[in-house]
Subunit: 342 residues, 2 copies
C-alpha cells in the first residue's frame, strides 16, 4: 500500500497546499495568490482546510493512505502548545492556538512547523542537502529565516525558537531592526534590505541608474536591482556586495560554531547568487579558519554552487535547489519524520 502526505505553505502572500507521495513526488498543488496577510484569519483557515480536504478526498483510497498533514507557518511556534507566538507577516494570528483550531476543523492531527525549518527539511529531503545528515539553511526572502537539520531532524531548541538567523548581529550599531536590535543580518540580506540599501544610494545621489529604474518602474525591487547589477551598474553591485559580506559574516560564524557539512542559501534573493556569492565567500574565507581547514579542495578559493556528492568532510556552501517549493515539500515531509500515521 502506498501513502501520501499533505503539505501546506502558509506564506504572507500566498497559501499553497500540496499532496506529496512518499518519494517526494508532488501529486497535485493548489495555490491561492490572494494576500494571506491582509485577509481574515478565519477565511484563510477555511480555505486551507478546504484545500486539504479536497486533496485528501482525491488521493485517499484503498491502496493509498494519508500519512499525515504538515503545515509550514511563518513565525515562532511554541511547540508544546501549537500557538503562533510571533509572526510579523501574519499580524492577526498573534498568540492564536492555530494548531488546535486546525485539528478541530479537520478532525485529525496535523503537524505545525516554522516555514524556514520546513524549507530546510525540504532541501534536506529532495534538494541541495539530500546527501548529508546535518545542514543549515538560510532563507533570504522578505525577511531572513533559518533552519537546522541535525541528524536528520529539525533542531528546534528548547522552545522552538532556534535558527533565528535573520537576527544575528553583523554590524554593531548598524541599521535598526524590527526585533529591537541593530545591525541584524535581515537588515542587509533580505529582499527588503536590498531595496532599502538601493534607495539609500539613490537618496544620496550616488546611483543614477537605480534612480532611473525607480522612476520608470512601479515595482522597484531586489529583482530590478539584480538586473542592474548584472548589467554592470556599480552602485547596484555594491548593494549585493554588502548583502554578501553580511551573509558571509554569519555563515563564517555558523561554520565556526557548528562545523556542519552543508550550508544552503535559499529564498528569492538567492536568485542573485552571482551578485552576492563572491563577497560572501571572501568574507567566509577571511573570518573562518574552520572553513579554510575544511573547504572543498577542488574549489577552495571561490564561490561554488555544486550540490553533488560533496568531498568527504568538507564544508559546502551552496544554493538551494527547490526554489519556492522547499517549504511546501518540507511541510509534507513532517508527518513521516514524526511517524504519526493518521
Amino acid at each position: 500500500m502506498s501513502a501520501f502526505a499533505i503539505g501546506v505553505d502558509l506564506g504572507g502572500t500566498s497559501l499553497r497546499v500540496a499532496a506529496v507521495d512518499s518519494q517526494g513526488k508532488m501529486l497535485e498543488k493548489i495555490t491561492t495568490n490572494t494576500a494571506v496577510a491582509t485577509r481574515s484569519r478565519d477565511l484563510v483557515i477555511d480555505e486551507m482546510c478546504g484545500a486539504i480536504q479536497q486533496l485528501t478526498s482525491k488521493f485517499q483510497n484503498d491502496s493509498n493512505h494519508l500519512a499525515g498533514i504538515g503545515i509550514g507557518v511563518p513565525g515562532i511556534i511554541e511547540m508544546e502548545t501549537g500557538t503562533l507566538r510571533w509572526s510579523p507577516n501574519l499580524p492577526g494570528w498573534h498568540d492564536y492556538p492555530v494548531h488546535a483550531e486546525i485539528e478541530r476543523r479537520l478532525g485529525t492531527k496535523v503537524i505545525l512547523e516554522n516555514d524556514a525549518n520546513a524549507a530546510a527539511l525540504g532541501e534536506k529531503w529532495l534538494g541541495a542537502a539530500a546527501k548529508v545528515d546535518d545542514m543549515c539553511m538560510i532563507t533570504l526572502g522578505t525577511g531572513v529565516g533559518g533552519g537546522f537539520v541535525l541528524a536528520g531532524k529539525v533542531w528546534h531548541g528548547m522552545s522552538g525558537m532556534a535558527a533565528e538567523l535573520g537576527h544575528l548581529n553583523v554590524e554593531r550599531n548598524g541599521a535598526p531592526c524590527n526585533c529591537g536590535s541593530r545591525g541584524c543580518l535581515e537588515q542587509y540580506a533580505s529582499a527588503t534590505a536590498v531595496k532599502r540599501m538601493a534607495m539609500e544610494a539613490v537618496a544620496a545621489g550616488n546611483a543614477p541608474e537605480m534612480a532611473r529604474a525607480m522612476k520608470a518602474s512601479q515595482e522597484f525591487n531586489s529583482k530590478v536591482i539584480y538586473q542592474l547589477a548584472l548589467e554592470g551598474d556599480e552602485p547596484a553591485r555594491e548593494v549585493f556586495r554588502r548583502a554578501g559580506n553580511a551573509l558571509g559574516t554569519v555563515v563564517a560564524d555558523l561554520i565556526n560554531i557548528l562545523n556542519l557539512p552543508m550550508y544552503v542559501i535559499g529564498g528569492g534573493v538567492a536568485d542573485a547568487w552571482d551578485a552576492f556569492a563572491p563577497s560572501m565567500m571572501e568574507t567566509v574565507q577571511r573570518n573562518s579558519y574552520v572553513y579554510l581547514a575544511t573547504a572543498p579542495r577542488e574549489n577552495a578559493h571561490g564561490a561554488h554552487d555544486d550540490a553533488g556528492q560533496p568531498p568527504r568532510r568538507s564544508t559546502v556552501i551552496t544554493r538551494a535547489r527547490l526554489g519556492s517549493d522547499a517549504g511546501l515539500v518540507g511541510a509534507a515531509r513532517c508527518p513521516w519524520l514524526h511517524q504519526k500515521m493518521n
Copy 2:
C-alpha cells in the same frame, strides 16, 4: 563492583591527572606545574603516562575497575585519526598522532577530547549545567574556547572543529587575531585581550592607575586589572565593559542560533564576572529577542548567577562552578559516555 576513570587535563601551563569515581568524586589528583608548552613533547607524554599508571595501580583492584581514560587536549583534534591538527599552546605537537602514541605506551584505549569540550562535559556532569540536557560553555582563558553538549553528548561537528567560539566575529575590522581574521571574540574577552586592552589604554595616556600598577608589578595581568576595576578605576572598568559587550554579542547570537536552556561562562577571566556581566547582559538583552522571550522571569533585567533549578524553558546565562577542575572531571567523564570498558 565500583568503577573509576582517569581524567587528564593537558594545559599549556600544567599537566593534571586525576582518578574520579562514577559519581564524580575526585579520588586523587596529580599536578605538575612545569610549563608543558616549553617542555619536550616526549617528556610530557612520559610524565602523563607515568601518572596514569600510578593512579591506575593505586585504585584498581578486585572490587574497583578502571572504566577508561579521557584526555583533554588544547587544540583541534581530528576525531577519526586522533591527530592534534592545530594547537597554539602546544606548538611542538602539531599533526602529532597523540592518540595512537599514548595508547601504544599505555597498552590500552584512551579517549581524546578537546579541552573546552571536556570543560563543558564537566560542568554538565557536576557543575552549573547538571540539570539541563543541552548547554553551551564558553571558557575565557589565555584564549577563548567553547563547547556544546547537546542531548547529553559533545557536539563535535563533522570534523571535531565545532564550538570555535573564540573566533566568532564581534567587530568588523576589529583587532587582528592569530586565526587570520579580525575582531574575533578572543581579542576582547580572553585574559590576553584584557591585558592588551589595558596596555593600549596605558599607552594612550588615559589610565594613570593602570600605568602605576604596570610599573609596580612584575605580573600585570587580568587579575590585577580586575582588582583595579573593583576599586572603581574607570579605565579598568572600561576594559571589562568591552569584554562584556563582546561576550554579549556572541552569547546573543548563540541564543538566537541554538535556543539552548543554558550558557555557562568559565575560565580564569570568569572570576571577573562582576566587572563584565552587566555589560554582557545588557548586550544580550539588546541583541536577542529570543533571550527576551525566554529570560528567567524573576530576574530578566540584570545579570544573574543562579545555577540552581532553572525556571522551565528559560534561558540561563551563568558562571561555571567547577573552576579549573571542569576540564579534568570532564575528561574523566568521557569514558563513561563512550561506553568503552577497558
